[in-house]
Symmetry: C2
Subunit: 472 residues, 2 copies
């Protein structure tokens, strides 16, 4: 799309019109491709506000973007080129660690790895454990979860304060929350900007809690013959290890096989004979153990032996230790599965007892309806999350978009309608799942959204909206 | 006030017009007295919805109320009798523990002590530690904190799902969030009802996370010569004990003296010579220790000896153990201070490094301006909270309301304007602090509130509003 842009925009040195640069900023985390009028890359909240105000006045809808690691396309502009990209990646300044408050304040464009590198000398970190390396602004806007949610919670739990820009004609800057660990002076409006893309405003600065790094860890892989053993084992693990538990992940045989095919050097903890499910158990503590203390490995082994001897839960083989090797398998699952063929990725969540009940129901249902589809799932047993990934082995010539849509609808319908689950556990809302938002969002919550959009961005900002008329 | 009520209301057996019953429900947690047209005590969400719809149609503003333990008057009707009380205390049904999900669903009227009594056989509890015994609905509506916030967070962190009734002509029932530990399908609208009184709707049912009970605890009291030692000690304690720390409370000499005068049988851990500040340190763990493990007492002593030997932080006398005796002092502070004379209570919060800097500034300022005022403070060092309570020893004949207002304004102005603190850390907003909400709430957040009130309760429900025209 060609559109003549006013000089007030084109002559700014924080706005780029170079097609190659624009192309870079139009690619999403799952290979999506969009198109844009220009890319704006401000370095400060004030400049971002100026750009937003100009764009609102000119009627140009901005798609904010930070790390481009999102998995639902929320920060990718539409292909028809009527959007412009507002990249926050240059907003990396003003990193401030308040040691006594144990909080960090920084720009929205700082990467998680940069934050943790700066905190490392203080033995602190941002305890959100992800396979990718997003920027903090996007993490807040998506409310990311990750592998240690059962111990540390989601991003929402750690956010104390935000600076946001509304999408009004003035690009109004609003500061919410400050650096206080608690305050009860009315609605906590910063919640409006957590996990909502940029529907109500663009986050440019965050203040958040950070945690002491783990001083010791212990890891085990437990083979399970099938999913029915899981609930009892979950209860036993929590009873014996309490909040020492920092991760509880499951990996299906199919997903592990895909990871091994993708990275042949990965360890094969169970030899050639993969169990249907392998459960990754991690204990960690953030205080230094003394010489007189048992190691976490000993505590983990003692507890697992206790479970085995008591017969309280069924376990197959147990492999202890070598945390890096075990996590290497876990972190190779996603890419391994992607390499295996045509992928339909689902990011679902359930009550913890339902994760593997859903899985069993789905195995039966898909086996009957779509026998060419292979379930390569893995996920977060400790918090009810499951990356229910499907690989379609149908001959490419027989594939149709209708088939994909039918499979996707079947999975989501079962998850949401039969199991009260979520069709987006930790990846947020974007073009990838607008369709399900449209199906399942209630009339009341859409009215709430519409009321707020009227006084915040009013749909002049952001790629995602939650009000009735437009989610597509 | 007399007003003729329609038979559709007066003939319901869940609505009471008996003046004695009404009087009971018009008393607040700090002795406030209001007046009401009637008291409605529904037993179910549907009946509550019917009553709300009738009242909205009749133009009667309902003040929702659960445990009547609030400290800012938010659930006390006005004295002029134009309100009616909607008590949720009979909504105690349908307690459901999902063991595998580790969540509870119950009616808004269940008391915290009842919830914990039902969870006790499962070695689980709701980890909000309070001096009072509120109902869960009121806890969510206030977003209460308490003494173990540094470990477990506020109520908001634990709420997974809510059933609310909007204040519209239909008494629309909305269910938000379910029992999922994570979901990212758009705005988390239940946040709108956490910590906002009943401004946007009445909570009738909650689903929330519960935690394993502590299996072991260790407690120490540390004498500090003055507040300057605190920041270094806080850092050292977190470095050595990490998330074993479950409480870090300070008690001033004046507050302890008041507690001892009120309850002479309390232990005197430092003999007759009270330190300016006593710091209560609690470690706890929610997994069973083995015979081979050091006890938490040993870990605590070892760490404190390490701090003393390293000279990393200044400590005076240290008294170990006798947790019940130590907590008995802590829990007697509030009532002891109240008995000491005319009380001006403040519930403030700061960045952790500022809690005692504020205290030092205030000592100087009050000492000069109001020498008859005694600072009897205590609070939560671990999360930045301080109950900055003042006792006014001026002769009663010389006291004027203007004096009280000047003192209150001086404290709040210093807290908010000089230290970026909060004038309500964990008690919420009500008539007691409307005045400060009016002074400090931003124009933008009032616009957000007004937009939402227009589609939710629209000021036909609740005692507290956050929009421009009415907070008084």
């Amino acid at each position: 799309m060609n559109r003549s842009l006013p000089a007030s925009l084109t002559q700014r040195d924080d706005i780029d019109l170079d097609p190659q640069i624009i192309e870079t900023y139009c690619q999403g985390g799952r290979g999506e491709k969009g198109s844009a009028l220009f890319v704006a890359r401000p370095r400060s909240t004030q400049v971002a506000s100026d750009i937003i105000a100009l764009c609102v006045q000119e009627g140009i809808q901005l798609v904010p973007q930070s790390g481009r690691t999102g998995l639902v396309g929320a920060s990718v502009p539409d292909p028809d080129g009527h959007h412009a990209v507002l990249s926050l990646e240059r907003m990396t300044g003003d990193f401030h660690l308040d040691r006594i408050n144990r909080t960090v304040t920084c720009g929205a464009g700082l990467r998680l790895s940069d934050i943790n590198a700066r905190l490392s000398p203080e033995a602190l970190y941002m305890p959100i454990d992800l396979g990718s390396d997003p920027c903090i602004g996007g993490m807040v806007a998506t409310n990311t979860g990750g592998s240690r949610l059962m111990r540390y919670g989601d991003v929402r739990r750690h956010v104390l304060g935000l600076t946001v820009i509304l999408g009004d004609r003035n690009g109004t800057i609003v500061r919410l929350g400050g650096a206080l660990r608690k305050t009860a002076t009315g609605p906590d409006w910063k919640q409006l900007f957590v996990g909502t893309g940029a529907s109500f405003g663009v986050i440019t600065e965050c203040t958040f809690n950070v945690e002491p790094t783990a001083k010791h860890k212990a890891t085990a892989l437990i083979a399970l013959p099938d999913e029915s053993a899981l609930p009892d084992l979950l209860l036993e693990l929590e009873r014996r290890f309490g909040s020492l538990l920092s991760a509880l992940e499951f990996m299906s045989a199919n997903a592990m096989r895909a990871a091994h095919a993708h990275v042949p050097s990965l360890r094969r903890p169970f030899g050639g004979d993969l169990p249907d499910i392998a459960l990754l158990v991690e204990l960690s503590c953030d205080w230094p153990l003394d010489e007189a203390d048992r190691s976490l490995d000993d505590i983990l082994i003692g507890g697992l032996v206790g479970i085995a001897e008591s017969g309280a839960a069924n376990m197959g083989d147990v492999v202890i230790g070598r945390a890096e090797e075990v996590w290497a398998i876990r972190h190779a699952l996603s890419e391994g599965v992607r390499k295996r063929g045509r992928l339909y990725a689902f990011d679902l969540s359930f009550r913890r007892g339902d994760v593997l009940r859903f899985r069993a129901a789905m195995k039966a249902q898909l086996g009957e309806l779509f026998p060419d589809v292979e379930i390569c799932d893995f996920g977060h047993v400790g918090d009810g999350g499951i990356h229910f990934n499907l690989v379609d082995h149908l001959a490419p010539g027989d594939w149709t978009p209708d088939r994909e849509r039918m499979i996707r609808d079947t999975v989501i319908k079962t998850a949401v309608e039969d199991f009260d689950g979520s069709y987006s556990a930790e990846h947020g809302i974007g073009p990838v799942n607008f369709r399900y938002f449209d199906t399942y969002a209630s009339a009341e919550t859409r009215r709430f959204s519409a009321a707020l959009e009227a006084v915040t961005s009013g749909k002049r900002l952001g790629r995602v909206h939650f009000s009735p008329e437009q989610t597509q």
